[in-house]
């Protein structure tokens, strides 16, 4: 078995035992990138040289007996909407194609302090708006399990890079399912933490009340180790919550006694593929066999999630993206008549179709005469969605269900039908609206060999419980050990 097929924990013990050096480990992933990246297209930037020098520094410090960070020598890829000082951060947009941030995102500072090796920046739907990574203006990412299919999105590059074993860990952002859905499509673990658990400082804003940064890994323990580094208070993000970060990687192996698993019957109603439904039913049986109590729960307002989400997310996006004016950074048109025309022409040239649609929808939903009917109404239904979860978590520890209604769809299949594309996020969206944590873990394969993800949700700040529950399932199954061959 090659180094690049080991789990994060195995890589950590190999490094500690001196079985291989951080340089050898990093080189083996860079070799995997040079062999397989051309088919996958997960990266927008590969930082080979700086990755090797970071790895060499880790090796030197280890040899001199220094205390190293928890991710010392472990490669991590970052979604390209996370600011890296001195390295381009494009959001997969023409608007920011040449943008080089003058500062690091908070989580980049945290990863450096943990001695992780930053291996590159991954592809995404432009400004994280999309569910297939097809909205990237800068490249096409393919699903390693079937190169004719999308990796999901918007963190499609981060998911595909881990699935193809081009890196053991990666970081994404999740506004309506953008970590969990591509994790499900690519057969890896992906987690959205509680809103406020991870600082958003340096994450290019899409919808500020919904955006949250989270980990991808090949297994639950890897995701726990990475979350432990990402999480924590940062005064530069005033929504980041000041409470201690548990040692997720330590507790993750402990099974939960008396686990109560909630199941929402509506999740298995119309719109779900039978192959997905049967894998998820089987996953719930795994919990039952481990002694968990299976409890029906109702989330009566979740069916409105997609509508609420597109109003709120687009409204916030229209405001956040107003900053791209061709003055301070980003693209400026070369021909225009006056100042206002310069704004409008620069934005028209810099933004792609989906970004324009979301800005337009948001401006419309917030405009005079419509904001009560659309935006305010959406905020009220949002509260009802949260109330449903609060009630449900009085009776259960986690809620289990499908991450997505279908396995990965084909490239081009939904690209002309935005509404159908939006509906692919039906199971993931309400977690963002409610601000609760969620994780997707590999839970099966369709007859065509495409991965299927199990989504687990928990109450706010119950990441520890969520990871332990996910690990209980993973330990009983081998789906996460399968590696795509291409």
């Amino acid at each position: 078995m090659s180094i690049s097929e080991l789990t994060t924990a195995e890589l950590q013990s190999g490094l500690q035992a001196g079985t291989f050096s951080a340089v050898e480990l990093t080189q083996s992933y860079l070799d995997a990138i040079s062999r397989r990246e051309e088919s996958v297209g997960a990266f927008l930037t590969v930082c080979g040289e700086s990755a090797l020098s970071q790895a060499a520094a880790v090796d030197a410090r280890r040899q001199s007996g220094e205390q190293l960070g928890t991710l010392a020598g472990i490669p991590v890829a970052l979604k390209d909407n996370i600011c890296t000082a001195g390295t381009k951060t494009t959001c997969a947009s023409r608007m920011l194609e040449n943008f080089v941030p003058p500062y690091d995102a908070h989580i980049v500072t945290r990863l450096k302090a943990a001695d992780a090796v930053l291996v590159g920046k991954t592809n995404l739907d432009e400004y994280a708006m999309g569910s297939s990574t097809e909205n990237s203006a800068l490249g096409k990412t393919r699903n390693p399990w079937d190169l004719q299919r999308t990796p999901g999105g918007s963190s499609g590059g981060s998911a595909a890079s881990v699935a193809a074993r081009l890196t053991p860990l990666s970081v994404g952002s999740d506004t309506g399912g953008s970590i969990r859905q591509p994790a499900s499509f690519c057969g890896v673990v992906g987690m959205k933490p509680t809103y406020g658990r991870v600082s958003r400082y340096g994450l290019v804003a899409f919808a500020s009340s919904l955006d949250q940064i989270g980990p991808f890994a090949t297994d639950v323990t890897g995701a726990a180790s990475l979350l432990e580094v990402l999480a924590g208070h940062d005064e530069r993000d005033s929504t980041s919550v000041n409470r201690p970060v548990p040692e997720y990687s330590r507790s993750v192996e402990q099974p939960l006694e008396g686990l109560r698993v909630g199941v929402v019957q509506e999740h298995f109603a119309e719109g779900i593929d039978e192959e997905v439904a049967s894998s998820i039913r089987a996953a719930i049986e795994v919990y039952r066999s481990l002694g968990a109590e299976i409890v029906d729960v109702a989330l009566p307002h979740s069916k409105y999630g997609v509508a609420v989400y597109y109003l709120i997310a687009s409204s916030e996006a229209s405001s956040n993206l107003a900053r791209y004016d061709g003055v301070h950074y980003g693209h400026r048109a070369s021909e225009f008549e006056n100042m206002v025309d310069m704004y409008a022409a620069s934005r028209a040239e810099g933004f792609g179709d989906e970004v324009k649609r979301r800005i337009m929808l948001g401006v419309y939903a917030l405009s005079e005469g419509y904001s009560d009917q659309y935006y305010l109404k959406a905020l009220k239904v949002r509260r009802l969605i949260r109330n449903d979860f609060d009630a449900a978590f009085k009776n259960v520890d986690v809620i289990a269900g499908p991450t997505c209604p279908t396995p990965a769809f084909k490239i081009g299949e939904l690209v002309d039908d935005p509404l159908q594309m939006y509906l692919a996020d039906v199971y993931t969206i309400s977690a963002n609206l409610a601000g609760i944590p969620g994780i997707s873990v590999p839970a099966g394969f369709s007859p065509a060999g495409l991965p299927i993800g199990l989504q687990l949700l928990a109450a706010p700040f119950e990441e520890e419980k969520l990871l332990r529950a996910a690990r209980m399932f993973e330990r009983e199954t081998d789906f996460h050990t399968k590696v795509p061959q291409f």
């Binding site: 509508a307 609420v308 022409a345």
Partner: protein, 96 residues
């Protein structure tokens, strides 16, 4: 349903210069989404407070003290047009 005039008005507010083709397509695709979100009409929200965000925090203040900020050069580095001191924009006032 959104008309072409609606789309033109919104595009003006959004500072987006759309082509004729984009205006037609936008009217069509946005109308689909707007008609989908009318599903919210069936929810009774009387006596429900709007929820703008879920974080259990409000009014986070820091000390009003001078601290280091981004150096001017770094702040101007990504500017499409600058003279090294300022961001440069097209002339706004006539006869200025």
């Amino acid at each position: 349903m959104l008309t072409r005039e609606d789309v033109e008005k919104v595009a003006g507010l959004a500072r987006l210069k759309l082509t004729e083709e984009e205006i037609s397509e936008m009217a069509d695709k946005l109308s689909q989404v707007i008609s989908y979100v009318t599903v919210l009409d069936e929810v009774d929200v009387s006596n429900v407070e709007p929820m703008a965000h879920v974080a259990d925090v409000a009014n986070i203040f820091r000390e009003d003290a001078v601290r280091e900020s981004l150096p001017r050069e770094a702040a101007l580095d990504n500017a499409p047009k600058s003279d090294g001191k300022y961001f440069l924009v097209p002339q706004i006032l006539e006869n200025a």
